[in-house]
């Protein structure tokens, strides 16, 4: 759509700007402020320059948390995106079952995040939970509070349970927007099911899938509540993702300087990766 150039449009944006700036800029400045200072309590601060940044960037603890975070995000993206697309492809397009499917699938998305953690906690407990009991009954030595591997499996399973529906809904929205004429043309050409998917459905879903990847990337990178309720970062540090580590440093040990430096590095990483996705998306939209 052609847009008219009009700088008075700024007035329409002002309320949003004021609200978000109040919430974003002041706290962010606080964080920046802490990240360059040292304090020994009682509100006395000394300027420290980039010392905290160097410390965080060199610390093995941060590297480990970042590594775990990248592993977690990659695994859940690799599972949730294909799975979500597959489910969306097999969903009914018409009839009363559509609404039933959509409502039931969207349900996990509306459960408070700590309740999601609590649900999986109860569900996977070795002695009490259905999953834990079942796996142990099958002869597996499953205990997510003791074995790092089990903790990871439970964590990933929980995230798949929680968020795959988002990908399904997005992909489904892309699919139902494809006009019937495309499928008819494909049928006349005798296209195989794979060809229909590869040359009609996938390109048409590209846009919503980019949004799905962007949202899933951002949200999985900042995940805090669910793992903190489920495993608390344990056993040991096995599931201490970036956010959990950050909260441990900031609110647990009250190391303001390193926590603030870590916050900024963390935020910049998310920002950089999201910017890449976002630019790709905008470029895609402009190509249309």
């Amino acid at each position: 759509m052609d847009k008219t150039w009009n700088n008075r449009a700024w007035f329409l944006v002002l309320p949003v700007l004021a609200l978000v700036a109040f919430n974003a800029i002041i706290p962010l400045m606080t964080v920046v402020n802490y990240s360059v200072q040292e304090t020994f309590g009682s509100n006395v601060f000394f300027f420290e320059g980039v010392k905290w940044f160097q410390e965080v960037l060199r610390s093995e603890r941060f590297h480990a948390a970042l590594g775990r975070q990248l592993a977690f995000t990659s695994i859940i993206l690799l599972i949730e995106i294909p799975l979500g697309v597959a489910i969306a492809l097999t969903m009914p397009r018409k009839g009363p079952m559509v609404a039933v499917c959509l409502v039931l699938m969207a349900l996990p998305l509306l459960i408070p995040w700590n309740v999601v953690g609590a649900i999986w906690n109860i569900f996977a407990l070795p002695g009490i939970g259905l999953l834990g009991r079942l796996l142990n009954g099958l002869g597996m030595d499953y205990n997510y509070t003791r074995h790092p591997f089990d903790a990871w499996v439970t964590l990933i399973l929980m995230d798949v349970w929680h968020w795959t529906s988002l990908v399904v809904l997005l992909a489904y929205a892309g699919l139902i927007a494809i006009p019937d004429a495309y499928y008819q043309a494909a049928r006349i050409d005798g296209a195989s099911r794979w060809a229909v998917f590869r040359y009609i459905q996938l390109p048409k879903m590209q846009r919503v899938l980019t949004i799905a990847i962007l949202l899933r990337f951002m949200d999985s990178f900042m995940i805090y509540t669910e793992p903190s309720v489920l495993t608390g970062g344990g056993p040991g540090n096995a599931t201490t993702l970036l956010s959990i580590d950050l909260v441990k440093v900031a609110l647990g040990q009250f190391d303001l300087g390193p926590a603030a430096a870590m916050s900024i590095i963390y935020f910049l990483i998310v920002l950089l990766l999201s910017w890449i996705f976002y630019t790709a998306m905008v470029a895609q939209e402009e190509r249309r």
């Binding site: 489910i87 998305l109 459960i111 569900f123 939970g129 920002l271």
Partner: protein, 289 residues
């Protein structure tokens, strides 16, 4: 010869192409069904737990509550610590939804209709706030809202949640608004409508479904967020989610109570989702399909 073959092809190929598709359709049923079962099993287990007493939870392993009890729910609905948690949550979530939608509407209109100085940068900057990890903001938020004397009030949480809800609301609304032809605006102005009257009387009804979807999303993300809500409250505005975590650690491990409280937190979401069920798919695609 060629003609004959192509006639045969025309008759046979579609039939071949359709036949496996139909067979697959019958099997295709399985995938969503299995997926929905997978989604429902943990919820079933939660409900199962919520109707048991503590002895049965810890002592026996039963797929169905043997001593069916509503005691857990009764405790939650009669104890003010518990039910106030629900009231607090619903209060700040509603406030946040109203503020977010009201502020985002004009902004989204500006982004969808006009080009102005720095518009693209502004839009991306808004989105970056949706990308900010709440863990980064927890401590500064606590200090900021304490400093202006709003700590432990509903409005504090409602304002804090604007951080990620407003960018999302602007993003989705912009998508919906871009689908409305610009000629409608121009015709209305020619007919002598002022901007506010045009916006409320003509434009808003046109994107009513979009507004519904946005309200749903704001409700959803404010309802499920815990870290900021917990950081910004202590007693007076404590959300249900925080009541759950604290009670769980304070009184040992009352799983039945925890399960009942969890089951009750699903109810508002389920209600809201029922109302927007026809727009869910489009809404999740941010109005951009």
């Amino acid at each position: 010869m060629t003609l004959a073959r192509s006639a045969v092809e025309r008759a046979v190929v579609p039939a071949i192409a359709r036949a496996p598709a139909r067979a697959r359709l019958r099997l295709g049923w399985l995938v969503p069904t299995v997926y929905i079962l997978f989604l429902m099993v943990p919820i079933y287990w939660l409900l199962n737990m919520s109707f048991k007493d503590t002895n049965e939870i810890l002592g026996d392993f039963t797929l169905w509550p043997r001593n069916f009890t509503l005691a857990n729910y009764r405790e939650i609905l009669t104890n003010p610590v518990w039910y106030n948690g629900y009231i607090n949550s619903i209060l700040y979530v509603t406030m946040n939804t109203v503020i977010s939608v009201a502020a985002a509407l004009p902004a989204a209109y500006a982004f969808s209709r006009y080009r102005f100085l720095g518009d693209k940068h502004l839009f991306f900057w808004l989105l970056t706030n949706r990308m900010a990890p709440p863990a980064v903001f927890a401590l500064p938020f606590f200090q900021l809202y304490s400093a202006i004397g709003l700590f432990d009030t509903h409005i504090a949480v409602a304002l804090a949640h604007c951080l990620f809800n407003i960018p999302l609301a602007v993003w989705i609304l912009e998508g919906f608004m871009s689908g409305v032809p610009k000629e409608i605006d121009e015709t209305a102005y020619i007919d002598g409508y002022s901007f506010p009257r045009f916006f409320v009387k003509i434009f808003m009804p046109l994107i009513a479904s979009g507004i519904g979807v946005v309200a749903f999303f704001c409700f959803m993300f404010s309802w499920v967020e815990l870290l900021l809500a917990k950081t910004l409250t202590s007693v007076a505005a404590k959300p249900i989610a925080a009541v759950m975590t604290r009670t769980a650690s304070a009184s040992g491990y009352e799983l039945g109570l925890l399960a009942a409280a969890g089951a009750l937190t699903i109810v508002p979401g389920a209600l809201v989702i029922y109302f927007v069920r026809n727009y869910i798919a489009k809404g999740f695609a941010l109005g951009r399909v």
